[in-house]
C-alpha cells in the first residue's frame, strides 16, 4: 500500500514558483542547458565524473531554492525494487578476472563473486539516475508548463523550414507533462481501489500469468481514463477554434540575456568535457 501512496507526490511536472537565478533563465536556455547536462550524465561512466555531476545538480537544486529532501522524496517509491536489482547485479554480475586490473575480484565466497567492475557499474548507475532525476525535477519545477512549451517550440523552429510540425511536437510534450501528475494520481486511485477489494499484491517472479493479468487490470482503466480526458481536451480545443501555431504571436516575447548564454555554454562545455574525460586516464 505504501508504494501506492507515494505516486501522488510525483513532483515531476509541477511548477514551484520562486525568484531564483534559475527561475529567471530563458526557458530555451534552460532546455538547452538541461540537454547538455543529460548528455554529460549519459556519457560519464567513471566514479569521479558521475559523482561530480550529481553534486553539481544538487547544488543547482539548492540555488533554485528547492528543498533537496522533497526532490529526493520522489525516489522513495521506486527504491525497493531498485535495491533488490542492484544487490542481484553486484552479486551475479560475473566476468571478474583474478588478476589485478579494472575488473579485479574483491570478494569471493562460494558462488558469489563481487568484482570491482560490478561495484562500479552499480554506483555509477545509481549516481547517474539520481542526477538525471534531480535534473528533470529541477527543470520542471523552475519552469511553467507553458514556458517549457514555448521554449521547446522556439528551439524546434528550424524544423518549420523542413515542413515538420515543430509547434505540434512541443504541444505533445506539454500535454504529456501536464497530465503526468494527474495520471499518476489516477493510477494510485486504481491501485488502491483494487487493493481495497482484495486484489493481492503478488510480485513473485514465478506467478507470470497472475502478474500479467494483474497488469491488465491496472492498465486498462488507466488507458480508458486517459482517453476520456483526451476526448474532453479535444472537444475544448475544437470549441476554441484551435488551429495550430501558424502566425501566432505572444504577449511577452523571449529575450535572451547574457546569463542565458553563459548557462548554455557552460553546460555544453561540460558535456564535451565529460566526453573527453571518459577516454582519459583518471580513476
Amino acid at each position: 500500500m505504501a508504494s501506492h501512496e507515494a505516486l501522488r507526490h510525483l513532483t515531476i511536472g509541477q511548477y514551484i514558483p520562486a525568484d531564483s537565478p534559475i527561475h529567471r533563465l530563458d526557458p530555451r536556455a534552460k532546455l538547452l542547458a538541461a540537454g547538455g547536462l543529460i548528455i554529460a550524465g549519459v556519457v560519464a561512466s567513471k566514479y569521479s565524473n558521475v559523482l561530480f555531476l550529481a553534486l553539481l545538480v544538487a547544488v543547482l537544486v539548492k540555488v533554485a531554492g528547492l528543498r533537496l529532501r522533497s526532490a529526493l522524496a520522489n525516489l522513495v517509491p521506486v527504491m525497493p525494487v531498485l535495491l533488490v536489482m542492484a544487490l542481484l547485479q553486484i552479486l551475479f554480475y560475473g566476468g571478474a578476472s583474478r588478476s589485478a586490473g579494472p575488473n579485479r575480484l574483491l570478494v569471493e565466497w562460494g558462488l558469489l563473486h563481487i568484482s570491482a567492475e560490478s561495484v562500479r557499474v552499480i554506483v555509477v548507475t545509481w549516481a547517474r539516475f539520481v542526477a538525471l532525476f534531480l535534473l528533470i525535477t529541477l527543470l520542471t519545477s523552475t519552469t511553467t508548463a507553458s514556458a517549457l512549451t514555448r521554449g521547446l517550440e522556439g528551439l524546434l523552429r528550424p524544423l518549420d523550414r523542413l515542413h515538420l510540425p515543430g509547434h505540434e511536437i512541443a504541444l505533445v510534450g506539454a500535454i504529456a507533462l501536464r497530465f503526468l501528475p494527474i495520471l499518476g494520481e489516477q493510477l494510485e486511485a486504481i491501485l488502491q481501489a483494487q487493493a481495497s477489494r482484495g486484489v493481492s499484491e503478488s510480485r513473485s517472479r514465478w506467478h507470470l500469468l497472475a502478474n500479467a493479468r494483474r497488469m491488465a487490470q491496472v492498465i486498462v482503466p488507466l488507458f480508458v481514463d486517459a482517453y476520456h480526458r483526451a476526448e474532453e481536451l479535444i472537444l475544448a480545443m475544437q470549441a476554441r477554434c484551435y488551429h495550430g501555431g501558424k502566425g501566432r504571436t505572444y504577449l511577452i516575447p523571449f529575450r535572451s540575456r547574457p546569463a542565458d548564454y553563459v548557462a548554455v555554454i557552460l553546460s555544453i562545455s561540460l558535456a564535451v568535457l565529460a566526453g573527453v574525460l571518459q577516454y582519459s586516464t583518471l580513476p
Binding site: 525494487v81 548507475t125 528533470i136 500535454i175 499518476g184 491488465a216 483526451a230
Partner: protein, 236 residues
C-alpha cells in the same frame, strides 16, 4: 470533420499516451518481475503500440521516443548498458510496426488470415525439422508445440471478429519489434553479458510472454476505447 481536427486528435492522444509511458517507466509499474536473466519483462511499450494502432505510425513513433527516454532514465535498464543505440533507437519503431501491421490487417478477411497462419506454422515446422536434424527430441518438441499453438490460435480466431485478430497481431508485432531490435542492437554493440546465445535465450523466454501479454492488453484497451470512441468520431 474539419482538416485540423485530425491534427488536434493526434496531438492530444500522443500527449496522453506519452504521459502514460513516462508514468509507467518512472514508477517501475511497467516492469513485471520474471524469472529470466534480464529480471523483468516490460509493458512500457504498450502505449506506443496503442498509439500506432489508434492514430497511425507517427503517433507511435513519438510515444516510442518517449519510451526510449523513459528507459534511459531507468537504472534497471542503464545498469546493463548506457548506449543510446541499444536503449533508445530500437524503441522508436515499436509503434511504427504496430501501426503498419494494423493498417494492413484491419481490412483483411478471414481467408487471408488463415493463409498467414498456415504459412507461419509451415515456417516453424521447417525450423523444427532443421533442429530435429541435430537434436531429435527438441525438434519433435518444437513441432508438437507449433502444431498445438496454431490449433489453439485457429480455434480462437474462428470465434472472433477480424478486427480483434488484427489488434492482437499488431500488439504482438509491436512487442516483438522491441525484443528483436533491442537484442540485436545489444549483440551488435557488444553489450557486456549479452552474446548471441544469451540474446536468443532472453528473446525466447521473455519476448514471447511479452508478445502474448501485449497482444492481450492491446485487444483489451482498444476494445474498451472503441466503445467510447464510436460516439466521438475516432477513427476506429
Amino acid at each position: 470533420m474539419k482538416p485540423y481536427d485530425r491534427a488536434i486528435r493526434r496531438v492530444v492522444i500522443a500527449g496522453l499516451l506519452l504521459a502514460i509511458t513516462l508514468l509507467l517507466t518512472f514508477t517501475n509499474v511497467a516492469f513485471i518481475p520474471v524469472p529470466t536473466p534480464a529480471g523483468s519483462a516490460t509493458i512500457g511499450h504498450i502505449p506506443a503500440i496503442i498509439g500506432g494502432i489508434l492514430e497511425g505510425p507517427l503517433v507511435g513513433l513519438i510515444v516510442g521516443f518517449g519510451f526510449g527516454f523513459g528507459c534511459f532514465m531507468n537504472p534497471l535498464v542503464t545498469a546493463v548498458t548506457n548506449d543510446p543505440l541499444v536503449i533508445w533507437l530500437p524503441r522508436l519503431f515499436i509503434g511504427v510496426t504496430a501501426g503498419w501491421t494494423f493498417a494492413l490487417l484491419r481490412r483483411a478477411n478471414r481467408r487471408v488470415l488463415a493463409a498467414m497462419l498456415v504459412l507461419l506454422t509451415l515456417l516453424v515446422l521447417y525450423y523444427s525439422y532443421q533442429v530435429g536434424g541435430k537434436i531429435l527430441w527438441l525438434g519433435i518438441l518444437i513441432a508438437f508445440l507449433a502444431g498445438l499453438g496454431s490449433l489453439a490460435l485457429y480455434n480462437w480466431a474462428r470465434g472472433e471478429e477480424t478486427i480483434v485478430i488484427a489488434l492482437a497481431i499488431a500488439g504482438a508485432v509491436g512487442s516483438l519489434t522491441n525484443t528483436v531490435l533491442v537484442l540485436s542492437a545489444a549483440v551488435w554493440r557488444k553489450v557486456a553479458g549479452i552474446g548471441p546465445e544469451v540474446a536468443l535465450g532472453i528473446g525466447l523466454t521473455q519476448g514471447i510472454p511479452e508478445a502474448i501479454v501485449s497482444a492481450i492488453v492491446a485487444v483489451a484497451v482498444v476494445s474498451a476505447l472503441r466503445q467510447i470512441g464510436k460516439r466521438r468520431g475516432a477513427r476506429l
